[in-house]
């Protein structure tokens, strides 16, 4: 059974090594590939030591924010309180589909990482919160958890360590906002998935009011490799001149690109090489116009900016955007950016949890204006209004969904204003009519 594309020689497949390998999905297959060795070792290691190893490795959260994982774990002290670990498997950011593949192909890798992290933060109970629409990943992870319990890897005496490690798989009902860590906790508690005001931070009062650590699927799946091979081993991946971005990262690529899919490369990889070499560049005869590099909520890059960017946390910031979740969306020269941005704002307007005034009303208002402009009914003053609304939405709400909606609008207006103006002026030469991509492909 093969994977959509073979591993590229320039990839560094650690997490993705067994993508396409059906046998790796089973407990037996996973063990045959060295699985659960790290957990076996970790369960007999002091949690403090595990925290130190992860801290030394330089691993940063792969969910999007990039917070140092070891530091996050170090907030959890042996204080005798009940602690919880939550695995955020609610991957819903448009353009991002890396966690899904981890869960589909290496579910035991995730279970191992979850159990290991739980022990490392002094928790006996961990939850894997999976996005509601993830049917297959849910089935795979659930099966893996059941297998792990049956084999004594999880439970009252995990791997003979005398430690209690319980993992529960919870399936969300399908709300984008439940991927926000505090909304996720609310949802797990059986409440409406609304983000909570911070402070208190989850490490102080999280799930059920107890100290909680929340990590992304990719982050947790990486941890066993670090424990098994050591922090120094992990540090070899990355730019030598940038110690802040260490390790490998899975990047999802979609849109107008020859070989869409998931690619794992060491951080610091040149984005131009990534797009043109690994992903095959634009479709024949086309040219890349823009890229949203880190999931739909980060600033858009023009082709020139993208080609000059480096794929790590600092490199993307230097390019005027963010690494985010690593989900790159590629637009070629046939794409109408107004249309694409309107589609994104519509998504955010639909998914806003409705708590904060700016987000609830602002996302919908922006969408209405965007769709009006898209339909050739915009006015010149709409552009100023868009900027003003986006400004009113940014940095003023409980979570960043509002900012996520405002960002593509702001960066789109900054970099592709001429397309907005052409739509308003009804200049068909500047824009692509709906359906053009399909017509062209045919």
């Amino acid at each position: 059974m093969g994977y959509p594309h073979p591993s590229h020689p320039r990839e560094t497949p650690i997490l993705s090594k067994y993508f396409g390998d059906a046998e790796a999905r089973t407990l037996e297959g996973w063990r045959a590939r060295g699985g659960y060795e790290a957990l076996q070792k970790a369960l007999f290691t002091d949690p403090q030591e595990l925290q130190t190893i992860v801290k030394d490795s330089g691993l940063r959260g792969r969910g999007g924010a990039g917070f140092p994982t070891g530091m996050k774990w170090s907030f959890m002290k042996p204080d005798g309180k009940t602690h919880y670990l939550c695995c955020n498997a609610d991957e819903s950011e448009p353009g991002t589909f890396k966690d899904r593949e981890i869960m589909r192909w290496t579910p035991h890798g995730l279970v191992e990482g979850v159990a290991l992290a739980a022990h490392a933060i002094y928790a006996q109970t961990a939850y894997i919160y999976i996005r509601g629409e993830f049917t297959e990943p849910y089935a795979r992870v659930t099966a893996a958890v059941e297998e792990a319990y049956a084999a004594g890897i999880l439970g009252a005496n995990a791997m003979g360590s005398g430690k209690q490690v319980d993992v529960h798989v919870h399936r969300g009902a399908g709300a984008y906002i439940c991927g926000e860590e505090t909304a996720l906790m609310n949802s797990l508690e059986g409440r409406r998935g609304n983000p909570r005001i911070k402070p208190p931070f989850p490490a102080v009062a999280g799930l059920f009011g107890k100290p909680t650590t929340i990590n992304n699927v990719e982050t947790l799946t990486t941890v066993p490799y670090i424990i098994k091979n050591g922090a120094e081993w992990y540090k070899q991946f990355g730019r030598p001149d940038n110690p802040k971005s260490i390790g490998t990262k899975l990047f999802s690529v979609c849109g107008n690109i020859t070989r869409p899919g998931n690619y794992e490369v060491a951080l610091g990889f040149p984005f131009k090489d990534f797009l043109y070499d690994l992903c095959g560049g634009p479709l024949p005869g086309r040219e890349i116009k823009a890229v949203i590099p880190g999931g739909s909520s980060v600033p858009i890059l023009t082709r020139e900016e993208a080609e000059g960017a480096i794929m790590d946390y600092e490199g993307m910031v230097a390019a005027g955007t963010m690494l985010g979740s690593g989900g790159a969306i590629v637009f070629d020269d046939r794409q109408c950016m107004v249309r694409q941005i309107a589609r994104l704002t519509r998504f955010y307007a639909h998914e806003s949890c409705a708590q904060c005034s700016q987000c609830r009303e602002g996302t919908a208002w922006i969408t209405r204006i965007m769709e009006r402009i898209r339909d050739g009914e915009g006015t010149a003053e709409d552009l100023d209004t868009l900027v003003s609304i986006a400004d009113g939405m940014s940095g003023k709400t409980i979570c960043v969904l509002s900012d996520s909606c405002a960002t593509p609008v702001m960066s789109g207006l900054k970099k592709f204003r001429h397309e907005f103006e052409a739509k308003i002026a009804a200049n068909p030469a500047m824009v692509t009519v709906p359906g053009a991509l399909r017509a062209s492909a045919a």
Partner: protein, 520 residues
């Protein structure tokens, strides 16, 4: 304690207090919608964003605790711009139907928009429209006006402990929904109407009755039960149209039950006794006050007098009645209606109390004995002086045995019309001023909210006249005079002063409180 500066004013407040509350102590109002001191903080309306020096973003004043040395700017250009933005967002879909909205004139969206909002709207799209929904009970939900502050949801969940309301849907489609199969019939549900900062939740009972600016308001104390909830009576053209809670942390916080709210109807009754009456040739005939008092005293003299007082009379009236009882060598009794106790779970010691009268505790302190039936206190040939009691359930045979009946009250019961020698019309609670003593022994003042009908007089005034006419010493010109006399002669009220009671009241002596609360 923490010291900080808010709008240039130094303040020192307890550690952990929110910036919003700290600003209040400095006399600075931070505009807000979702925040309410009686509810858990939600921090969702984002109206209270303030600029705090050294903080990278604007901070929600309701959800941010004060810190030592903090410098807060409430009206800085950045904070003002943010509030202007929130107002604009809230108004894009708000129907702007102030001319027909019941909340007009007391709407916080209206107020803040006037104070800080944009003069025009940049919204060019069609506004959303949703139908009005009957939430059951007395509550109507006008979704178009809702700003999703969730005060109502939090009240029902965290204070009333009956989570009937929720936020349904997402995005700008969100609305306040009801749990399937449930209505807003909780005995405390009416508070969501008061809590709503806009006109989204309205009282069906009050709907279209009056505009806020047409109303006159006076502080009062609810007479619905012995809790003594502080309230405001609102009148339009001298007619009571609404009773709303008045905040008092020591009694009812910010809340009031449905029974209390509906008690305004009693004050608005039109079948009032508004002229003194004396039975002449078998018919109750209008006379002047002097003749009526003379007739009343004549009817009570030379007999054993039983005084049946209402536990809704003020302390002042009961004190004068106590003296009258002594003067006539009679007996003072009262009876009190009872019902189910309905607590408000989220507020300690707040309930709709079993005793459905405002001043049973006062009556006990002033020497009145509780009876379950009027007949049990009466003997053959007794004279009965009824003050405020409506004589509900009293049988004709019980009254037939009386030698005479004098009625001092607000509406004339049928039995009285047939038997009374004299009728002296008095004012009800919202037409006079005085004090009540609640079940915890807290003495609280109420003020006059409207003028009395006809020539009806305040109860303390009429009783002063009666006392004087029976030969008792009575020289009182104001309720405060009566109160002072009461304080000087009753140890239970010792130390209290009418003026210093303020509008939140003070407790009577602890030992007496225990006595007053014995029947709880």
């Amino acid at each position: 304690m923490v010291s900080l500066t808010i709008e240039g004013r130094p303040v020192t407040v307890p550690d952990g207090m929110s910036i919003l509350e700290a600003a209040k102590t400095a006399g600075v109002l931070v505009p807000h919608y979702c925040y309410h001191p009686g509810l858990p903080v939600a921090g969702v309306c984002r109206m209270c964003l303030v600029e705090v020096e050294k903080m990278p973003k604007l901070a929600p004043a309701c959800a941010t605790s004060v810190m030592e040395g903090q410098v807060v700017h409430v009206h800085s250009p950045k904070a003002l711009e943010a509030r202007k933005g929130v107002l604009e967002f809230l108004l894009i879909n708000h129907p702007l139907d102030c001319p027909i909205c019941d909340q007009a004139g007391e709407c916080e969206l209206q107020d803040y928009t006037f104070a800080e909002g944009r003069a025009d709207s940049r919204y060019r799209e069609p506004k959303r429209f949703n139908p009005v929904e009957d939430f059951g009970g007395d509550v109507l939900y006008v979704q178009n006006r809702c700003i999703l502050c969730t005060r109502c949801v939090r009240f029902m969940s965290d204070v009333a402990d009956e989570p009937v309301l929720n936020v349904s849907e997402r995005g700008d489609r969100a609305f306040i929904g009801k749990a399937e199969g449930h209505d807003l019939t909780n005995p405390w549900a009416g508070n969501v109407i008061d809590l709503c900062p806009v006109g989204a939740l309205l009282s069906k009972d009050f709907l279209n009755k009056a505009r806020a600016w047409e109303l006159d308001r006076a502080p009062t104390v609810c007479t619905g039960c012995s809790q003594g909830c502080n309230a405001v009576v609102e009148t339009r053209d001298n007619v009571p149209v609404r009773l709303k809670p008045r905040p008092n942390d020591a009694v009812n916080q910010y809340y009031m039950c449905e029974v209390g709210r509906q008690s305004y109807r009693e004050f608005a009754r039109r079948d009032r006794a508004d002229q003194p009456l004396v039975r002449i040739n078998g018919t109750l005939t209008e006379v002047d006050w002097e003749d009526a008092v003379t007739a009343a005293v004549g009817a009570l003299s030379g007999k054993r007098v039983v005084v049946l007082a209402s536990p809704n009379l003020s302390n002042e009236a009961l004190f004068l009645l106590e003296r009258l009882v002594a003067q006539l060598n009679g007996q003072g009794v009262f009876r009190v209606a009872r019902g189910e106790t309905v607590p408000l779970p989220g507020v300690a010691d707040l309930a709709l109390r079993e005793e459905r009268a405002a001043n049973a505790a006062g009556a006990r302190l002033l020497g009145f004995a509780e009876v379950t039936t009027v007949g049990s206190a009466l003997r053959h040939d007794d004279a009965l002086l009824v003050v405020g009691d409506a004589l509900d359930g009293v049988t004709p045979s019980e009254l037939a045995a009386l030698s005479s009946l004098v009625f001092v009250g607000t509406t004339i019961p049928t039995a009285v019309a047939e038997r009374a020698v004299a009728v002296l019309p008095i004012t009800n609670t919202v037409e006079e001023e005085g004090t009540f003593t609640n079940l915890r022994g807290r003495v609280q003042r109420f003020l006059q909210g409207r003028t009395a009908p006809g020539v009806a007089r305040p109860s303390w005034f009429v009783l002063t006249d009666l006392l004087a006419a029976t030969g008792g010493a009575a020289e009182f010109h104001l309720p405060a005079d009566v109160f002072a006399a009461m304080v000087s002669t009753h140890q239970a009220f010792a130390g209290l002063d009418y003026e210093s009671l303020g509008m939140h009241g003070l407790p009577v002596l602890a030992s007496e409180t225990a006595t007053a609360g014995a029947a709880i």
